[in-house]
């Protein structure tokens, strides 16, 4: 071979280390050596270290033992790590749902003017996000029928906690009991307990029947000590509550708030909370805007006008600017921690605003017809799947004689734990409910796998 460019010994190794191409300092600090010198000269210091007024005994040498990596290496490593999540089709729900998130949601919510901004302390340069939040509040107002909606809580569980403390502030019952249904998810209840701890509220459970409220049982559980009754529609077992009007009537003339838990999609079809006498509506608004991202969501919080000045969290209102144009601004801030400190209605500061943006975009994308149609689908899919499961020997579905939203429980002849684990091995994740029941959630994002699921259940039960 005629080699005019002979291979030289140096510079030719492949660097396979993760640290390849990592910078020596931070890649996100723009200073070069000359900048640093000039800046130090202006300050009158010889060295950056001089600027740290930290006593010697508590100094640290910066060796955490965390290795820096190039951007590509970080992505490659995290991609590989996340690949260890099993490749299963999820038929999981119980408060966390998967609906198809259209591309416009990512595309618009990732616009950097939105995502790299913060709370609108300077409304004149933040009209865009303020209007988004105003429109989000309006959306929640319409779907809950309430007079007032805030622009987010952290999640459904903390929103319920905030509703309990609101009840404590606005109601003068003879005690401090928060009455919750026996179907309340343990996680939500655990969060509620922590919000109840400070004000000394007591959480008590009332029994339900057939997956929904038994009005007689509720009435006998009620006493003069109850500040708030919490009911879900749909419940985390997927049951559509059939006694909302009765619950409303029972609570009507009492010192007890009626708090309804729901989500924005269900609300677009199911009974309007305002029509059944609800005082506060909480829940997960993130069913629109976010896929299942390990339980990250956005708490929705809406209530009747009379509680306006006791609402937790941020509120955006319309006003006018010096030109007389309509503008938006954070308002009624005297409720909040930065002004009221220990007497604030809540400690919340940073909230879930960006998720609110995503939820608003998703809802606008679907529009009233699209929302209602999707919600209607969420009542048909579980009915169909339950009927088909019921035809499998050893399965009885749905376990509750009721209409369902997205999901239902099914009774299993045999060991539910073994069935769930066998299903997982074959690529399907469903909930185990106790020793002899499972729970299955079906939406437009997994219905295409329903036939395979049925086939697999048939095999597993055989």
């Amino acid at each position: 071979m005629n080699q005019t460019h002979p291979t030289r010994e140096t510079d030719l190794s492949f660097d396979e280390s993760d640290a390849a191409q990592a910078e020596s300092g931070s890649p996100f600090t723009p200073h070069d050596a000359e900048d640093v010198t000039e800046m130090l000269a202006a300050i009158g210091a010889d060295d950056v270290e001089e600027l740290f007024d930290v006593p010697e005994p508590v100094r640290y040498d910066g060796s955490f033992g965390i290795e820096g990596r190039s951007e590509r290496a970080v992505r490659r490593r995290l991609d590989r790590t996340l690949d260890a999540n099993a490749d299963v089709v999820e038929f999981l729900g119980r408060g966390h749902y998967s609906h198809y998130v259209p591309s416009v949601v990512d595309s618009l919510s990732l616009r950097s003017e939105f995502i790299t901004s913060y709370t609108q302390y300077q409304p004149e340069v933040s009209q865009g996000f303020l209007q988004v939040l105003f429109e989000f509040q309006s959306l929640v107002t319409e779907l809950t029928g309430m007079d007032v909606a805030n622009c987010s809580m952290y999640d459904a569980a903390t929103a319920l906690g905030e509703a309990a403390t609101l009840a404590d502030r606005v109601r003068a019952a003879d005690g401090s009991t928060i009455l919750v249904p026996d179907y309340l998810r343990a996680e939500r209840r655990a969060v509620l307990e922590n919000y109840a701890d400070g004000p000394g509220l007591e959480i008590r459970e009332f029994p339900t029947a057939n997956g929904m409220v038994d009005p007689d049982a509720l009435e006998s559980a009620l006493g003069e000590d109850v500040l708030l009754v919490y009911v879900e529609n749909p419940t985390t077992d997927g049951v559509i509550e059939e006694h909302l009007d009765e619950i409303g009537s029972i609570l009507e003339d009492r010192e007890t708030l009626f708090c309804l838990g729901s989500d924005l999609l269900a609300l677009s079809l199911l009974q309007n909370p305002a029509d059944v006498g609800a005082d506060v509506v909480v829940g997960n608004a993130g069913v629109l805007g976010l896929p299942n991202v390990y339980g990250m969501g956005i708490g929705l919080f809406a209530c009747r006008e009379e509680f306006l000045r006791q609402v937790p969290g941020r509120l955006v209102g319309a006003s006018e600017d010096a030109d007389g144009d309509r503008t938006y601004t954070l308002t009624l801030q005297t409720r909040e921690q930065h002004i009221r400190r220990e007497r604030a209605t809540s400690n919340i500061c940073s909230n879930q605003a960006w998720v609110a943006l995503r939820t608003a975009i998703h809802a606008a994308y679907l529009g009233p017809e699209g929302l209602t149609a999707l919600a209607d689908r969420c009542t048909r899919l579980p009915a169909r799947l339950a009927a088909e499961l019921d035809a499998i020997p050893g399965v009885s579905a749905p376990a509750n004689d009721a209409y369902h939203f997205r999901e239902f429980t099914a009774e299993i002849d045999g060991d539910a734990e073994a069935v769930v684990s066998e299903l997982a091995d074959r690529g399907f994740a469903v909930h185990r409910r106790g020793d002899d029941a499972i729970q299955v959630c079906v939406t437009e994002t997994n219905e295409e796998h329903a036939a395979e699921l049925l086939e697999t259940v048939r095999e597993v039960m055989a």
């Binding site: 020596s24 931070s26 996100f28 600090t29 200073h31 900048d35 740290f52 007024d53 955490f64 033992g65 951007e71 260890a84 099993a86 299963v88 999820e90 416009v104 616009r111 003017e113 790299t116 901004s117 913060y118 302390y121 300077q122 004149e124 340069v125 009209q127 865009g128 988004v132 939040l133 105003f134 952290y154 999640d155 459904a156 922590n194 199911l270 309007n272 991202v293 339980g295 956005i298 509120l315 319309a318 600017d321 309509r326 503008t327 308002t331 909040e336 921690q337 220990e342 604030a344 400690n347 919340i348 940073s350 879930q352 998720v355 606008a364 994308y365 209607d376 769930v420 997982a424 994740a429």
Partner: protein, 475 residues
């Protein structure tokens, strides 16, 4: 001098700027042929019905009427508005990151590994024994940390006796509110003449009823609490715990660790220190760290590793839960990506440049900056001018103004935190914006801002006659 004319869309037909979606189209839809019987459904909903192209234009225009870090400097003190690296969004957006929280741990090993590694990174960075990632924001971290302190005192049969939390006057509002939510009485501590904790006042205030002292270090004036060891001794001798508000940790990355300073419980503000986007107000995440001996009180579950299997464990005397699942997962994933991009050297460089930038900016502005030496932020005084007015006048110069009127220890406070991500040139533009306002006459300041999408907004009317939805606009 830099100028900025913010985009502004308005239509003569609407009395505002970009019309609301509801003003473009409001359609009432009444469901028919539903699977559910009528008595279980609502009559209908009235919402905007617009096409995808219109929707995209609507939100694009709104984004143009919004200022973010990517637009220009955002030196909002205490908020650490640093550059948000873009690659973290790609990592968060991948399908493998989207899993259901009720998966059996065996089916979510990848996600749990990220949790476990981040628990470990943060333990090292804070000098803490264990970390929970569950609290969804800084304030939620505070509540969690105080509940841990409460559980500790109850464990020691001192729960009833220790009913007070000490908070310095200059602390953030959430410290007071979080302690109160946990059921504590607040004892406010005055600052000494140097702007730091007054040791005499502290000694006076602590005692048998002290549950904890909540401290931000560097404090909200940017000053390191030099007497931290003595403060820790005073509080610990009285049987109280020391809580670290991590909002200002950016200043100390790699230089000092809360654990080494004697703090027992701390929260991290990952949307500040670790560059996850602030998202127009959130989501953030507020993991907490605890020293040895307090791990058993942490929220449930904790992620542990057993051989090479990641598992979920309930700590022995757990306080329970502070979030319905495992916190703001996507934010935590971005935090992990940021920390592992930077590594030790990047983290140390971050605090170096954050402190260098704050000192350089302070040097270049013509306002009085009382107290010092400060670290990542300083609090200048707007002097005779109202700090809120001063801020409005800065808006026309293409910068976001500082945090105003807090901490109150400085008159007409302008709390300024440029972060490490501003270049020397950018800091000079920022200084010019301060200086132009400090020389402007009262009329010019009163007329500002002129070039923003909205002119000066009337806050009083907004609060007196609240209009919180499009429904209320027509009331």
């Amino acid at each position: 001098m830099q100028r900025h004319r913010q985009a502004k869309w308005d239509e003569t037909e609407s009395d505002g700027h970009e019309p609301l979606l509801a003003e473009k189209d409001l359609t009432r839809h009444e469901p028919s042929d539903t699977y559910l019987p009528d008595d279980l459904t609502r009559d209908g909903v009235e919402l905007p019905s617009i096409s995808e192209p219109e929707l995209v234009r609507h939100y694009t225009r709104l984004s143009q009427m919004n200022y973010g870090i990517d637009s220009g400097p955002y030196p909002l003190g205490s908020c650490t508005m640093k550059y948000n690296p873009k690659f973290t969004e790609d990592i968060a957006g991948q399908p493998a990151a989207a899993v259901h929280p009720d998966r059996d741990p065996e089916l979510a090993q990848g996600t749990l590994q990220v949790y476990h590694e981040l628990q470990d990174y943060l333990s090292r960075i804070g000098g803490m024994s264990a970390v929970t990632l569950q609290p969804p924001a800084g304030a939620a971290g505070e509540l969690t940390g105080i509940l841990v302190a409460k559980a500790y005192h109850e464990h020691n049969d001192e729960g009833d006796q220790r009913e007070e939390i000490l908070v310095p006057a200059s602390a953030h509002g959430t410290n007071f509110a979080s302690a109160a939510m946990a059921g504590y009485d607040i004892v406010e501590l005055p600052a000494d003449d140097d702007g730091r904790v007054d040791l005499d006042a502290l000694s006076e205030a602590v005692g048998d009823s002290t549950a904890a002292l909540m401290l931000t270090n560097p404090n909200t004036l940017g000053l390191f609490e030099r007497d931290i060891e003595e403060i820790a001794t005073i509080v610990h001798d009285a049987g109280g715990l020391l809580y670290y508000d991590g909002a200002n940790l950016n200043a100390l990355l790699g230089r000092a660790r809360p654990g080494d300073m004697g703090f027992d419980v701390m929260h991290f503000n990952v949307h500040k220190t670790f560059a996850t986007p602030h998202g127009g107000g959130g989501p953030g995440a507020g993991p907490i760290g605890v020293r040895e001996g307090l791990e058993k009180f942490l929220p449930s579950p904790q992620v542990r590793v057993d051989g090479d299997e990641y598992t979920l464990v309930e700590p022995a005397e757990s306080i329970g839960k502070v979030h319905g699942s495992m916190g703001n997962w996507l934010v935590l994933l971005k935090t992990h990506a940021y920390i592992s991009r930077l590594g030790d050297e990047g983290l140390v460089d971050t605090s170096a440049k954050a402190v260098l930038n704050a000192n350089y900016l302070a040097e270049r502005i013509d306002l009085e900056v009382p107290f010092g030496p400060f670290h990542h932020e300083f609090v200048a005084s707007a002097g005779e001018t109202d700090a809120a007015d001063f801020a409005k006048a800065m808006l026309d110069n293409g910068v976001h103004p500082p945090t105003t009127k807090w901490p109150e220890i400085v008159d007409e406070a302008l709390m300024t935190e440029p972060t490490e991500a501003e270049s020397k040139r950018s800091l000079e533009r920022l200084a010019a914006a301060f200086n132009a306002v400090s020389e402007a006459d009262d009329d010019a300041i009163a007329a500002a801002p002129r070039m923003t999408a909205a002119k000066r907004i009337d806050q009083t009317t907004a609060a007196r006659d609240p209009k919180l939805s499009w429904q209320q606009l027509s009331d």
